[in-house]
Structure formats: structure tokens, C-alpha cells
């Protein structure tokens, strides 16, 4: 029951906050991909992470991953140097519905995040909101 309530909360939150302007992504899915960053673009209103990912046949595919604006990311504790080319990362993401190697991670979809090889994580929780305030 708790799991169902949590899932319902996650889904409703996703519907409330998704604001990246298209319907291309499967926002009910959370898919894990692992790869090597080729580019991190820190631009408004969409920052982007590109990474080389080996598919099941061993072929390398370059994925393009949309994420939030520098404003939202900064308040979540990111900087323009948070990710760099060559980083080995795992992303929990919402894939494109049409099977193309594009995806979304960001504040619109709770649970999406970046995990580095050493276990460090970057998420999208706003760190400037005082959680102790009533």
C-alpha cells in the first residue's frame, strides 16, 4: 500500500512539474543507462548531457539527454563543471517514447538522477528551500 501511495505521489508530482515543453518522453518510465560523457551543455532553458552508451549488441550509440535550466540546476546544487566529458556516469532517465536515443532527466520527473562511478549522485531537489520552515 505504501509503495502504491509513493508511486501515486511520484506520478502526480511528475504531472504537476513537468514543464520541458514536449510530449516525447515516457514519464512513467525510469530507465538506467551507463556511458561516457561526451559533452555537457549548460544553456537556458535546456541544459544537455551527451554520452556514448554501448547497446546490447556492443555498438556505441550517442545519447542526447535533456535536463533543466542552469537556474533550476544551480538551486539543486549543480555547477557548469558538475559533469565533464570523459566522466563515467549512470543516468536514471525517462526515455523517448519513439525509441530514439534521447531522454529527459530533471525536476519534472522525480527519481531521475546522475550517478558517478564513485557513487556520488546529482539530483534535482531545490537546495534553497528551507525544509524546516513551516
Amino acid at each position: 500500500m505504501k509503495k502504491f501511495a509513493l508511486l501515486a505521489l511520484l506520478l502526480s508530482t511528475a504531472v504537476l512539474f513537468a514543464h520541458h515543453g514536449n510530449t516525447a518522453y515516457d514519464e512513467t518510465a525510469r530507465v538506467r543507462i551507463k556511458g561516457t560523457v561526451t559533452e555537457f551543455i549548460w544553456t537556458n532553458p535546456h541544459s544537455q548531457i551527451y554520452l556514448d552508451v554501448k547497446d546490447s549488441s556492443g555498438k556505441v550509440v550517442n545519447w542526447g539527454v535533456e535536463t533543466n535550466s542552469p537556474g533550476i540546476l544551480t538551486r539543486a546544487g549543480w555547477t557548469r563543471r558538475s559533469i565533464k566529458a570523459g566522466d563515467e556516469v549512470t543516468l536514471i532517465l525517462c526515455p523517448a517514447k519513439n525509441g530514439q536515443p534521447v531522454a529527459y532527466i530533471g525536476s519534472g520527473d522525480p527519481g531521475t538522477k546522475v550517478i558517478f562511478a564513485d557513487g556520488r549522485e546529482l539530483d534535482f531537489t531545490d537546495k534553497t528551500i528551507d525544509k524546516t520552515a513551516p
Partner: protein
């Protein structure tokens, strides 16, 4: 035991007197504010006033049919939402965009500063009237006054009719009139209401879903310009591949 209970009672009383319960500052909205998520009645409320959407006039229905949003029940990839090419978001849509904004008060104006495009909306407080036939502006022409020590009321018109009332593509006319009420409830809280009068577009006034704004002293407003060349690059590399009709399933 009684002492412990008394201590716990006093502690909870002390909590109830936390700083946010201070009296509301008088005639002052200064600071960075964040709009709180609201119960949205439908997918058509994205970046929108929400509430019950009144019946559209024939003029508005024709426009609505041409607008191809990325959200709501008519959503499809490859839409024509103006913000997808960095055209101005307009007001009130920008207020509902989930990034903070700042109020600053100067002698003859209240300035409302948004992160998206680093927009500054000027609200004149020098007693002037709204112009009878204003040039349409992306963020309208606005006047404001304090109706009591904690309630600031803004009247505005002259909005460029190319902007949408939210991501679902509801239109408005250039003669739309807005009445916003910002009521400071305490140090940390503003209750916000909005009434849209636009007889050219809607059969009756659109009363927005009431929203709460919370003070965000640790947040700063960034220069969040939408740059068309950057957006075009993003569209080419991510948005267009994501919108292709491939008939394939998502990669897992």
C-alpha cells in the same frame, strides 16, 4: 512526568511562534518568491491560471484550434507553442512557470522580476490610470495600489495576443483585463488570486485557481535568457529526434 508534559507543551508552543508567524510586513512585497504547486484540475492547467476555463467565443475557438501545444489533451510532438522558439512567454503564464521571481519596490513602481528571459514587469504605483488604447506589449501595461496594509491589487491590460494563457494553448485578446491580488498573510506567505476579463475570448470571467507564494530568501534570480540559436541547436539534436514518428518502442 507533569514537568515533562509541560515542557513538551511549551516546546510545541514555541514552534508555533516560529518566525514565519510574525505579523505580515505592511505594504511590502519585497523579496524572492516561489509559487507553490497547486492541485491542478486537468492537464490543460500547465503553466496556466487553472480553475474552471470559461466557454470560448467563436474568435477564441478559431485561435485555439490553430495552437498546437505540447501539453494537455491536444498535445502532440512538434507543436507551435511560441516559447519553443524563445518567443516571450507573456503574462500571466510566466508567473506560473516553476522558477522563482522577485518583487522590488521603488518610489513610483513595483517591479516584478522573472528568471525566464530576465523579464522585468513594471507595475506603476503613482496613481496613473491604465491607458485607454495601449500599444500591445508582451507583458502588458500595469498599475497597482495598496487597498489595505497587506493587499496589493494590480490592474493591467494591453497584452500582445500572440502569447498563450498557459502551455495548453488557450488564447487571449489584446483587450484582456487582469486583476491580480497579492495578500501578504505573514512574513513568508502571499495568497494570490487572479481574475481574467476578456469578453472577446471568453463568455464570462476566468477566475484562476488561488495560489500561494512562499518567500525564498536563499534563492537568487538568474539571467535565464532563452537564446534562439541555442534553442534551435537543442531542437535539432534532441527535440526533433524525440518527435520522430518511428513506430518503435522506448529503449529500455
Amino acid at each position: 512526568m507533569r514537568i515533562l508534559i509541560l515542557f513538551l507543551l511549551l516546546s510545541s508552543f514555541a514552534d508555533a511562534q516560529a518566525p514565519s508567524k510574525e505579523n505580515a510586513p505592511r505594504r511590502d512585497l519585497s523579496g524572492v518568491w516561489g509559487i507553490q504547486a497547486a492541485r491542478e484540475t486537468s492537464a490543460d492547467d500547465k503553466q496556466s491560471p487553472g480553475g474552471e476555463i470559461p466557454p470560448l467565443t467563436t474568435w477564441a475557438k478559431a485561435r485555439y484550434d490553430l495552437q498546437k501545444p505540447g501539453y494537455g489533451k491536444r498535445a502532440a510532438p512538434g507543436g507551435n507553442d511560441p516559447i519553443l522558439q524563445c518567443d516571450p512567454m507573456g503574462f500571466p503564464r510566466i508567473l506560473y512557470f516553476p522558477t522563482p521571481f522577485e518583487f522590488a519596490q521603488i518610489s513610483n513602481r513595483v517591479l516584478q522580476m522573472f528568471e525566464r528571459d530576465h523579464v522585468v514587469r513594471e507595475i506603476w504605483t503613482d496613481g496613473r490610470a491604465l491607458p485607454a488604447d495601449p500599444d500591445p506589449l508582451w507583458y502588458g501595461y500595469s498599475t497597482g495600489q495598496w487597498v489595505d496594509d497587506t493587499t496589493f491589487v494590480v490592474d493591467s491590460t494591453g497584452y500582445d495576443d500572440r502569447t498563450w494563457l498557459g502551455a495548453a494553448g488557450f488564447p487571449h485578446s489584446e483587450t484582456m483585463r487582469l486583476e491580480e491580488r497579492y495578500q501578504r498573510m505573514d512574513r513568508d506567505t502571499i495568497n494570490f488570486t487572479l481574475r481574467i476579463d476578456d469578453p472577446q475570448a471568453y463568455a464570462k470571467p476566468w477566475i484562476a485557481l488561488p495560489r500561494v507564494l512562499k518567500l525564498r530568501p536563499r534563492a537568487e534570480i538568474r539571467q535565464g535568457y532563452c537564446v534562439a540559436s541555442e534553442e534551435q541547436s537543442f531542437t535539432k539534436r534532441i527535440r526533433e529526434p524525440g518527435a520522430l514518428d518511428t513506430g518503435a518502442a522506448p529503449r529500455k
